[in-house]
């Protein structure tokens, strides 16, 4: 996922994404790796991302292979701090790296 997120109805927007993650974690045993390049998020999008990370955390504690790579624009170091806040309660591999491309 990449870009800015401020949907008018974030439940409608993120609902299918969350459903997909849930279904994927339930129906398959393949590793799940999320690549994120998120810049701006409104409050309800932050909530949705926290829900997704919670799903990953639950799966991880049950032995599932999950990971997150969060790329940020080195010109915008704030995103680094924000990604770090998100990472706080996650015990699964969660990398935050400058996007040099």
């Amino acid at each position: 996922m990449e870009g800015d997120s401020y949907p008018e109805n974030s439940f409608e927007f993120f609902g299918p994404v969350i459903d997909w993650v849930e279904r994927f974690l339930k129906d398959s045993s393949m590793p799940l790796k999320l690549e994120l390049k998120l810049v701006y998020m409104n409050t309800s999008s932050v909530k949705a991302m926290m829900d997704i990370f919670d799903l990953l955390e639950d799966a991880y504690t049950q032995g599932r292979q999950v990971s997150v790579n969060w790329f940020y624009d080195p010109r915008n170091e704030r995103v680094l701090d924000l990604a770090d806040e998100f990472r706080e309660d996650c015990s699964f591999p969660f990398e935050i790296a400058a996007d040099v491309r």
Binding site: N42, T43, V46, K47, R78, D81, L82, E85, E88, D89
Partner: protein
């Protein structure tokens, strides 16, 4: 809840039961008429005790269950609270950075990136404010327009970099020649505008003269002649729109150009 406490009362009861059992078992009391009801009483007592113990066990069980439940609830509550706090923290940071971006954009939208003076939009905002203030307080402002003489020839002879550098030097000279509460900015091209709040025209002419000298006295290391400028000055007239004031200052400026450049001209 676990082991039953060994109270003296219970010990005494056990002692009594043991005593009665011994008496009942003794063949010497076989014919005693009290023996039979006593045996029944003992049996009833044993039944009662069993029921009581069962009751206590069940009630203890419920107690444990509800305690476990309320612990999970309070854990859940704490977890939700932490989540909400985290959500607010992250969201506040996003909001903060948006605010800073919009502040930076506002700054950028009001300033000329080359000279870092206020731009035309900035000047028009300030003109609106100063006009309002002048009318309210009956203290008119003076306004001046500065135009660099033969600016085109600097660009033509020394290139645009030299022209840009000259604009920056002139900007500095203008700013340095004005008073702290005066307002100036780049009106466009090689034109600058200044507003002198609560300043009569004769004083404004003196300030403009200082600005003209400031520009004339710049030492350029990339241009081998002195840069000069003309300045047209006027006073705000009550009731007019500031665009009329600007028009009048422009007329004075044209007059200065016609009269031979490097001059200050004023119009009341």
């Amino acid at each position: 809840m676990s082991d039953k406490p060994s109270l003296p009362q219970i010990d005494a009861e056990k002692e009594l039961i043991r005593h009665i059992e011994t008496l009942l078992a003794d063949p010497a009391h076989e014919g005693n008429p009290l023996r039979e009801p006593l045996a029944r009483l003992l049996e009833q007592n044993a039944g009662q005790r069993q029921r009581l113990e069962r009751l206590v066990r069940i009630s203890d069980g419920y107690h444990l269950l509800s305690r476990a439940n309320s612990e999970t609830l309070s854990q859940q509550y704490d977890r939700q609270l932490r989540r909400v706090e985290k959500l607010m923290r992250i969201s506040d940071r996003y909001q903060q950075s948006l605010r800073e971006i919009s502040e930076a954009l506002r700054e950028a939208s009001l300033h000329d990136p080359l000279t870092s003076l206020g731009n035309r939009r900035f000047l028009m905002e300030r003109l609106g404010e100063e006009t309002g203030r002048a009318v309210r307080n009956s203290t008119p402002y003076s306004l001046g327009i500065i135009d660099i003489d033969f600016f085109k020839s600097i660009n033509d002879r020394y290139g645009h970099d030299a022209g840009d550098k000259a604009l920056c030097e002139v900007s500095c000279a203008i700013r340095d020649s004005l008073r702290e509460y005066d307002i100036c900015g780049r009106w466009g091209g090689e034109e600058f505008l200044f507003i002198l709040p609560e300043t009569p025209l004769d004083l404004a002419v003196q300030v403009a003269e200082r600005v003209r000298l400031g520009i004339e006295n710049i030492r350029h290391d990339h241009i081998d002649y002195r840069i000069t400028a003309c300045i047209g000055v006027t006073l705000y007239r009550y009731g007019e729109h500031y665009s009329d004031t600007i028009k009048r200052a422009d007329e004075a400026l044209r007059h200065a150009k016609e009269a031979g450049r490097n001059r200050v001209e004023s119009r009341l």
